[in-house]
């Protein structure tokens, strides 16, 4: 009993989120939709408190809880901090939008907190069952969020599409998990690792692993399981899209990394080619499909597919450097994505949001600061030096080269030039084209603040020695926890 109580101390952030979400729900039911604003604020504070708790209770050596199903270590903490921050920003950023669309319902922040709770479990999952629980907890919340604008046909379509395809992928994942369990005789990652290294690459295990990878690839929208992303990104309410593109991606990627590196380190030769193939397919689809997009949310969907491809290069390396590269990449990716979506949410004319890339025309003239922010973020998304996005690419390439996969780095590098084209197109539309009517100004200070903060983080803060150094050290410590 005392053991369980001790164990709980390492799960304080999760406990806080779960209990807090329920408390907020009860409060919301009690006070109705007029309490949406205070509940949003409370949810942000709750996430901030969970973030601080995660920072301070991190066990030095890592600790296994609940019979090994839940692992609290530096790796999980790294992911959780970003997840909580992304969740908090998602709530902050949605304020103006929800008010404009008359969607100010108290369920919204509660759902986001519940989703972050699920993601938090994903980051710590150390067992096939807790892995599935984490995924389902966050997915169910996300399905509802996608359809949150329930009177909008696009939004409900997005929610339904996401739900059906998500259920399919969960099915594949479960099927894979059951096969793995059947061959390993345990759901614990450590136990699976022991069996896998003893029995080698068993056919049943491999089939199970491939299904598991398919399910996980769906969750991070990596090709060939990416089809849902553009439609859901486009259809979902924009602040929800911002959330989809940030927190679940890092949670999914953290789970992806742990679910391959912890139980299957000895059969890396079996899964490495699969991951490399997924990485290349994602980068290619991200690069080529984005070229023809006219809707900026769809563009960002393909962009995120491509970025998942780059992050997966680090996983394909499968080394400590590789894992830390994935974490660095994802951290920078989340900052860029939140900043970009804050800008997309600022594309507001006569009270309505616009989503066309052509609406950005001449932005650098009509709204200089916003033009500068988008320029910094897009050059960073393209991975051009002087921005932090370049560091992400550098570390995954170094990891690939270290793992004797120079070819993968070359493929990634060449595709990055192709994808640079469509990022560049957005920049040139903003700088070179004749101005479109200006966007409304000063309607949403929280969005402006978020966008500016992200841009300043990307350049120059995360480029300067002490800050990027600190990020690298944190990522290295996090990666070391898995090895």
């Amino acid at each position: 009993m005392t053991d369980i109580m001790n164990g709980f101390s390492y799960a304080i952030p999760e406990v806080m989120l779960a209990v807090g979400a329920m408390a907020l729900l009860i409060a919301g039911v009690f006070f109705g939709d007029k309490s949406a604003k205070p509940i949003s604020l409370a949810a942000v504070l709750l996430l901030a408190a969970a973030l601080l708790a995660a920072l301070f209770i991190e066990p030095k050596q890592g600790a296994s809880l609940f019979g090994g199903a839940f692992r609290a270590d530096a790796f999980a903490t790294f992911a959780k901090i970003i997840i909580y921050a992304a969740g908090a920003f998602a709530i902050l950023m949605s304020d103006r939008y929800l008010a404009g669309e008359k969607l100010g319902r108290f369920e919204y922040p509660v759902l986001i907190v519940l989703a972050t709770f699920g993601m938090s479990l994903m980051a710590s999952a150390n067992d096939l069952i807790s892995l599935y629980m984490g995924i389902e907890t966050h997915s169910l919340a996300l399905y509802i969020l996608a359809a949150f604008n329930r009177d909008s046909r696009r939004s409900t379509e997005a929610g339904l599409k996401y739900f059906v395809l998500g259920a399919l992928s969960s099915g594949m994942l479960l099927y894979g998990a059951s096969l793995i369990y059947g061959f390993a005789g345990s759901t614990s990652f450590q136990e699976i690792a022991r069996v896998a290294s003893a029995s080698g690459a068993d056919a049943g295990l491999i089939v199970g692993l491939v299904f598991l990878i398919s399910g996980l690839a769906f969750k991070v929208s990596a090709a060939p399981f990416h089809m849902w992303a553009p439609d859901v990104y486009e259809g979902a309410p924009t602040p929800v899209t911002a959330f989809f593109a940030s927190a679940p991606k890092i949670a999914g990627m953290a789970l992806f990394v742990r679910a391959l590196v912890a139980p299957f380190p000895d059969i890396i030769d079996q899964w490495r080619p699969v991951i490399a193939a997924i990485a290349i397919a994602s980068m290619l689809i991200g690069a080529f499909s984005a070229i023809a997009q006219t809707n900026i949310k769809r563009l960002m969907a393909y962009s995120s597919i491509g970025h998942m491809g780059y992050a997966l290069i680090g996983l394909a390396a499968g080394t400590k450097e590789g894992v830390s590269a994935v974490l660095i990449y994802m951290a920078i990716y989340v900052v860029m994505t939140i900043g970009t979506f804050a800008c997309i949410l600022l594309m507001r004319r006569r009270g309505g949001l616009t989503e066309n890339i052509s609406d950005l025309a001449g932005l650098s003239r009509t709204n200089g600061p916003m033009g500068l922010v988008v320029t910094i973020l897009f050059f960073s998304l393209a991975g051009v030096p002087v921005t932090a996005g370049f560091f992400g690419k550098w570390f995954v390439f170094v990891a690939a080269v270290n793992a004797h996969m120079v070819w993968l780095a070359v493929v990634g590098a060449v595709i990055s030039v192709i994808s640079a084209y469509y990022y560049l197109r957005v920049v040139w539309i903003m700088w070179f084209n004749d101005p479109a009517p200006a966007f409304e100004r000063g309607t949403a200070p929280a969005l402006g603040f978020t966008a500016a903060l992200c841009a300043v983080l990307i350049f120059p803060i995360l480029v300067m020695p002490p800050f990027i150094g600190a990020l690298i050290v944190a990522a290295q410590n996090a990666a070391a926890a898995l090895f």
């Binding site: 200089g368 051009v384 002087v386 200006a438 050290v473």
Partner: protein, 529 residues
């Protein structure tokens, strides 16, 4: 390795000073009250534009002053190694922020700081829209270029090298000239086409360098340039690494056949953009060959030297012939730049003292002369808004001062003795003769061709009867233009008559380089036997 004894990071100071200027220009706009479309009152706009111009000029002059002071007071030209070194931990694990200069880079630093105020002056009147953004772009570019020449860490070098694409991309695309271009079924403004081509072309060349850099980091455990220059890469690896570096620098120089972005970029860029491109940005490619290819991969450099010579000779002869057929003045000078840079790459890979020093000198001199030629075209463009050779003729009657200056730089371009262009050409050719007579023979024909296209340009634009009515009232160069061109002329003339000050700065570093290069080749040959 000598540590920085000066105590103050002078190189970082001059590198980041322009950025401070850019920040100030940005801040100057904060007080303004634009309407909802971001447009200011004309008077207020004027005031802010003037502030931007003045701040930009002030900062570039300040940087120039400080860099000259560094050169005379702190820099020791006798020493072959790196000086004024400063180092800060950056990414950890062997990648650091490390700056320093040697005989190869210090004069490029000075060239950059010298050309930049001229660029600001050249844009004083001709740039009227979005002046603040323009000046910010130039100041940011100065920071990035100085970073390239001062970086003593390969990663840092790449960081600045690639970063310099961003401001140049914007300069070409925003302030480029009018006109449209058909491309792949789309009609787009040709400045956009040129800007995107410039960006993607250079980026494609450079990403392979990025992967090579990752590999080097993996093998050597560091990206510290002085360490890497001592690191003996295995011969088979050198081949691939050399090719990856070559892809990047060849596009930047640019060498035939990857030069096609340059004429487009030059034609579309505003005058000052062309000047920066020709005077400084192209030099980053040659600098890269000297800083990395030759010292780090000597075996591969020797192996691939014939390839370089073949491409250089193609560049010298073929692009000179192409220049002969141009109807656009800027395009003509752009092609002549490719030809002149062909001499540079040829000189570098002869790996003889004459060749390398000649290449360095040629780059320096080309920085003055081609920059000045683009300014000369800019003078005409500002007045007539065309660059067509056919639109001019007989200008000597109306613009005597201009005719004199233009003639001087045309002669410099041809390589007339007494002008700095001659020294560079002569030394590179001498180096080539040492290496192989035929190479030198073909390269020399290029010199003759350069006289042909340069003199054709001069004759068509300046001589003949002044028949075109719109040219009757064309004014001669004003004071501002006289200052810009006069200063450049003074330097080209001084270095042409007395090249030894520059050569004596180059010599220790280039001798050191060639010594190590030959030692590495001897060691390899010894090992192979």
């Amino acid at each position: 390795m000598t540590a920085a004894a000066t105590g103050f990071s002078w190189l970082s100071a001059i590198t980041f000073l322009p950025l401070l200027g850019a920040l100030l220009i940005g801040l100057a706009r904060l007080g303004a009250n634009p309407d909802e479309n971001g447009v200011l009152e004309p008077k207020e706009q004027q005031r802010i534009d003037n502030t931007a111009r003045q701040v930009a000029l002030l900062f570039t002059l300040l940087v120039f002053g400080v860099s000259v002071w560094i050169f005379f007071a702190l820099y020791d030209p006798a020493q072959p190694g790196f000086q004024l070194i400063e180092q800060i931990e950056w990414l950890g694990g062997g990648v650091s922020y490390k700056m320093g200069v040697d005989g190869i880079s210090i004069l490029f630093v000075l060239l950059t700081t010298f050309v930049m105020p001229i660029c600001i002056l050249a844009s004083w009147k001709s740039i009227n829209k979005r002046v603040g953004d323009y000046m910010i772009a130039f100041l940011v570019m100065e920071t990035l270029i100085l970073g390239v020449f001062c970086a003593l860490d390969l990663f840092l070098f790449y960081f600045f090298f690639e970063g310099s694409l961003i401001p140049m991309f914007l300069i070409i695309g925003v302030w480029g000239s009018a006109g449209t271009k058909e491309f792949a079924g789309f009609t787009m403004p040709s400045r956009v086409y040129a800007a995107v081509k410039f960006f993607l072309y250079t980026l494609l060349g450079s990403v392979l360098l990025l992967v090579a850099m990752a590999w080097i980091y993996f093998k050597a455990g560091t990206t510290d340039i002085p360490t890497l220059q001592q690191f003996a890469f295995p011969a088979h690896a050198q081949t691939w690494l050399w090719l990856a570096f070559f892809a990047s620098f060849a596009v930047k120089v640019p060498m035939w056949p990857v030069h096609t972005w340059l004429p487009d970029a030059h034609v579309q860029a505003p005058t000052a953009g062309s000047v920066v491109l020709a005077s400084i940005l192209l030099k980053m490619g040659g600098y890269g060959f000297l800083r990395f290819s030759l010292p780090m991969f000597p075996i591969a450099s020797a192996e691939f030297a014939p390839l370089i010579f073949a491409l250089s000779i193609m560049a010298i002869i073929y692009t000179s012939l192409v220049a002969l057929a141009q109807e656009d003045m800027k395009k003509l000078i752009a092609y002549s730049s490719v030809a002149h840079m062909g001499l540079v790459t040829m000189g570098i890979f002869t790996a003889t003292p004459q060749g390398v020093e000649g290449a360095l000198f040629q780059m320096l001199s080309h920085g003055f002369i081609s920059g000045a030629l683009f300014l000369c075209v800019g003078v005409l463009y500002d007045r007539m808004h065309t660059r067509e050779i056919a639109a001019f003729g007989g200008l000597v009657h109306r613009m005597p001062f201009y005719a004199f200056l233009f003639l001087f730089f045309t002669m410099g371009n041809v390589g007339l003795p007494g002008v700095s262009g001659f020294v560079g050409e002569f030394l590179t050719l001498a180096g080539a003769f040492k290496y192989n007579t035929w190479i030198a023979f073909f390269a020399t024909t290029g010199v003759i061709l350069s006289a042909a296209y340069a003199l054709r340009l001069y004759r068509k634009v300046m001589y003949g009867e002044l028949t075109k009515t719109n040219l009757m009232a064309i004014p001669d160069v004003d004071q501002r233009e006289l200052v810009m061109l006069g200063v450049l002329m003074a330097f080209a003339l001084y270095l042409g008559v007395n090249p030894s000050p520059a050569l004596s700065v180059f010599a220790p570093a280039s001798d050191h380089l060639i010594q190590n290069y030959n030692a590495a080749l001897t060691a390899f040959a010894g090992g192979a036997q």
